[in-house]
């Protein structure tokens, strides 16, 4: 059993509208030290695979086919368990 964490972020150059809005709101609340905010989506996935390598292979396919949009997103995968 492996526990994986998948982080989906916007590629550099793609406008992060949510991050921008949160940044503006934080500044308007008085947090004047805020310089940048980025929104990142995290999925936690538990899966049964024989090896860590196979698990990574499957998780990459999940990212390509559903969790990330390859046009605008980068993704990273970290896996725990053995």
């Amino acid at each position: 059993m492996f526990n994986a964490e998948i982080r989906i972020e916007l590629k550099p150059g793609i406008l992060d509208a949510e991050g921008k809005t949160v940044k503006n709101s934080l500044i308007s609340l008085g947090f004047n030290s805020v310089k940048d905010v980025k929104s990142i989506k995290v999925f936690k996935i538990s899966l049964d695979e024989d090896s860590k390598e196979k698990a990574r292979e499957e998780l990459e396919k999940m990212c390509e086919q559903l969790l990330a949009n390859p046009v605008i997103n980068n993704y990273s995968i970290s896996i725990e368990g053995d």
Binding site: E18, L66, N69, V71
Partner: protein, 265 residues
């Protein structure tokens, strides 16, 4: 013969009734069909075959709650169960269209624009934009070939993710390909037809080159963010008392689309 139109629905679509009504008003035989009916996951009498229809429309809404990204779940379900059949349907020259959420689905499936990679990302305003916009039709797509390209149309938009975006670093070559092949079919403009030049709120989402809709190379697959099915009657327009029209701008658009479909029968 009446053209047969399939308006697909799944959980969360919410524009299928208006879309089917639009096709019926212009003389087509429209049926609202659940995705499960097309892939055989239902009782025998409810099963439908995609090839019984002359056109397939993906309507607007918030399919599957728009979880992950707008249209992502709907696209994944098409990809796994219906994509091969849909590809043959398109190859035969039959018409496939997407409105709003449907456009997001066709883009995610890479059926639009088809020759370059694109995505509909979050509006520059970071808001759900829900109001009327002005549009200029272009190109020879199923929905725009028979429209008067000098007439400015007005439809409402209602979306959070309508900002047409190309792969970063490939913006210029992608846009050039769309322009060269006449694949831009609607652009956001001022009421007098002047280009919006990405100026908010005339361009509601920051879309590159003010693109509101695109088609594939052949023109039989098309998608647009604004909702023509919401302005079928004159009184659906916000300015109907001071600017009376014979019919809504949406009806004009569906008439043009059905003419294209009839020619293929």
């Amino acid at each position: 013969m009446k053209p047969k139109i399939c308006v697909m629905r799944i959980e969360g679509t919410n524009c299928e009734d208006e879309t089917a009504r639009a096709f019926r008003l212009v003389g087509a035989d429209a049926e609202i069909v659940h995705l499960k009916q097309l892939i055989g996951d239902c009782s025998e009498e409810r099963k439908r075959d995609l090839f019984d229809y002359d056109a397939m429309i993906f309507p607007g809404g918030f399919s599957a709650g728009d979880y992950v990204r707008a249209g992502a779940i709907w696209s994944a379900r098409i990809q796994s169960k219906l994509k091969n059949k849909l590809n043959s349907f398109v190859k035969e020259g039959r018409v496939v269209g997407g409105i709003c959420n449907g456009f997001q689905v066709l883009t995610t499936l890479d059926m639009l624009p088809g020759n370059v990679r694109a995505a509909l990302s979050t509006n520059e305003s970071a808001k759900f934009e829900c109001r009327f916009v002005y549009l200029k039709p272009f190109g020879k797509s199923a929905i725009t070939e028979n429209l008067d390209h000098n007439e400015i149309l007005s439809f409402p938009v209602a979306h959070m993710e309508g900002n047409l975006t190309f792969v970063p670093g490939k913006e210029d070559e992608s846009l050039k390909a769309l322009k060269e092949n006449d694949q831009i079919i609607f652009r956001y403009v001022y009421p007098d037809g002047t280009p919006a030049n990405r100026k908010y709120p005339i361009n509601p989402n920051g879309s590159i080159d003010d693109i509101a809709g695109v088609s594939n190379l052949e023109g039989n697959v098309f998608g647009l963010m604004p909702h023509p099915e919401r302005v079928l009657d004159s009184f659906n327009h916000f300015d109907w008392t001071r600017n009376p029209r014979k019919v809504g701008d949406g009806l004009i658009t569906f008439k043009s689309l059905i003419e294209f479909i009839k020619k293929k029968l």
